[in-house]
Amino acid sequence: MATPLNLHVPEPEVRPGGVPDFSNVHIAPAGEVARPPIDVDPRDIRDMAFSVIRVLNREGEAVGPWAGALSDEQLMEGMHHMMLLRALDARMIIAQRQGKTSFYIQHLGEEAVSTAFRKVLKQGDMNFATYRQAGLLIADDYPLETMINQIYANSEDPMKGRQLPTLYSVREKGFFTLSGNLATQFPQAVGWAMASAIKGETNIAAGWIGDGSTAESDFHAGLVFASTFKAPVVLNVVNNQWAISTFQGIARGGAGTFAARGLGYGIPSLRVDGNDYLAVYAVGLWAAERARQNLGPTLIEYVTYRAGAHSTSDDPSAYRPKEESAAWPLGDPVIRLKAHLVAKGVWSEDRHAQLEAEMLDTVIAAQRKAEANGTMHSDNRPSARDMFEGVYAEMPPHLRRQRQESGV
């Protein structure tokens, strides 16, 4: 008798009310994964798509072949950036609740990924980011006040109120204009990198995508172009376990890991502990060096956890246990870097608390200045006249007529 078929629909291990369980997350001990030469044959490191590169161990020590890439000073700067980003997020979520902006997307738990990666890039390189990599700007000293102006859509908003909050565009900081349409930036990053190669320049590109969005055709289109043309690009997948309410297993399917997606394309594919500032930096540097040496693309999966809500419009307690983020086995990136610096004797609880207060003050000061330029619902906003500008380089007659008709 023929077997009746039935549909397999993947489900997360636990739902609200259950006990968080990450026993299925396989994590190699810090220091265990080898560091191959940058010109390694991708076929020789296929297993790296299934392990996790980590530098910081439980005792806060930096161990193994990927350790030692950063000085104390650089590490303290990293701490500074992560805490600044965290403070900005905290204040902007409150601002959204107060009606000063319509929407906000935070990074809680993922601060190491973008802030550490920014440090492997050089002036002239270009990021094609998602909405969850504002750390690329923070770690490049982009003025907070300008970020908040954009979030508030006030008179000093560089995007003139046209874009959703947090969808920045900062060419001089290597930050390509952000789209809300998922995955579109991925092949664009590859194309930008190909252009760099066509023109014989030295700049590289970085593409960014979330675990959920790797299901989009654009992700695969990006990989095939990167693979075929050996584009000088670092392809970053941020696996924060959740895509709004949908767990990562829905997008991953039977691939085992997101990094493993790169194997079919012959692209060196690595996984890294995304909550380990040192590991993110070391692996990013390895991949960036490969791109700079004309060795082609690298795919990196950052294993992390979205501790906060997807956006201010989301309530994660509806689909996952409240305790899940605390149970995440890779900890919190800020606390882990702090433990490391304390273990090294260059940091203390006091200095940490002091920096935390300082970062909050810095954000509040920038927020005050930005508020002087207006907020979402104040009168001090980009004018409706601006709405008609910039659709084309030169305003065509039909739009001119419409602007006139609108009376602005």
Partner: protein, 337 residues
């Protein structure tokens, strides 16, 4: 009868359809366990099981492409695109495949499916959560395009769409999910609870596709509108005191030519309102129809009120949105012409 919001009516429509016909399946991003970001599918997975209501990977072309395959294999998929702004990766599957499967196979295969998607602005959604892409679908032979303006019609039209033998694009004005909205954004939103269109039969019923509805009778000017703009048009008629006949098109393709021509021949004037950008919008089609069929009855030029020809701006949303003031001005000018 029960009082329902539009989101409840849409959910109820899927529930009724799934309960009557086990070939109806529902899926899309965040649709299963969570019940969709607007909660349109809440409770359906629990009730009908995971193989009839489930979370899809974030792949709009995958969602629509698989729905075509399911439809070809005897199911009636009703899939959700999270926001209409995100249907573009699926556009190829919708327009080149779903729309033509019956035609190109001489009905060897058919494609009975519904693609639901929230449309329109007024929620500070910016460029990527506010679009009204109806004209991109009405230009495609083989599709049907529906835009409800109230809970009653939403449920009846959705069930009709699910039962329809051809692919239907079901556009849901998200500004209307929780209550009617007249474009006076500074006023608090009224609820559907006190609105006659919030009364929705709990059982199975359909609102036939292709039939418009006169929402307000009038003698002086016909206003053609759909979705959110029906409510804006009604508000503009009230504000100006002009005796306007407001027609809710409900289905854009196939459109109800009879309803349009009967009304315009009676009033001799026509104002068309939509939220999508003006140029090559569906209003252009309506204006052409009126010119072709009612030319000798017209006492004034046909006017269109629409979104400006710019991408949807986030902070200037209320300057972009065709509100009652702009519609009112067009009515007044039409009457004076």
């Amino acid at each position: 009868m029960a009082r329902m919001t539009m989101i409840q009516a849409i959910r109820d429509g899927m529930d009724v359809a799934m309960g009557r016909d086990e070939t109806v399946v529902v899926y899309g991003e965040d649709v299963g366990y969570f019940g969709g970001v607007f909660r349109a599918t809440q409770g359906l997975q629990e009730k009908y099981g995971r193989s009839r209501c489930f979370d899809a990977p974030i792949s709009e072309s995958g969602i629509v492409g698989t729905a075509i395959g399911m439809a070809a294999n005897g199911l009636r998929p009703c899939v959700e695109i999270q926001f209409a702004d995100y249907m573009y990766p699926a556009y190829d599957q919708i327009t080149q495949e779903a729309a033509r499967i019956r035609y190109r196979s001489n009905a060897d295969f058919t494609c009975p499916m519904v693609v639901r998607m929230p449309t329109g602005g007024g929620i500070f959604g910016g460029q990527t959560h506010s679009q009204s892409p109806e004209a991109l679908f009405t230009h495609v032979a083989g599709l049907k395009v529906v835009v409800p303006s109230n809970p009653h019609d939403a449920k009846g039209l959705l069930i009709a769409a699910i039962e329809d033998p051809d692919p239907v694009i079901f556009l849901e004005p998200k500004r209307l999910y929780n209550g009617p909205f007249d474009g006076h954004y500074e006023r608090p939103v009224t609820s559907w609870g006190k609105h006659p269109d919030g009364e929705v039969p709990e059982e199975h019923f359909t609102v036939p596709l292709g039939q418009a509805k006169v929402k307000r009778e009038g003698r002086d000017v016909t206003v053609l509108a759909y979705g959110t703009m029906v409510h804006v048009a009604l508000a503009a008629a009230d504000d100006t005191g002009i005796d306007a006949e407001v027609i809710d098109l409900r289905t854009l393709l196939p459109y109800d030519l009879d309803a349009i021509t009967t009304s315009v021949r009676k009033t001799g004037r026509c104002v068309i309102v939509h939220e999508a950008t003006l140029t090559s919008g569906f209003g252009a089609e309506l204006a052409a129809l009126v010119a072709e069929h009612c030319f000798y009855h017209l006492e004034a030029p046909v006017r269109r009120v629409a979104g400006w020809d710019t991408p949807y701006p986030h902070a200037q949303e209320w300057d972009y949105f065709p509100g009652p003031a702009r519609v009112g001005a067009a009515l007044t000018e039409t009457m004076e012409a």
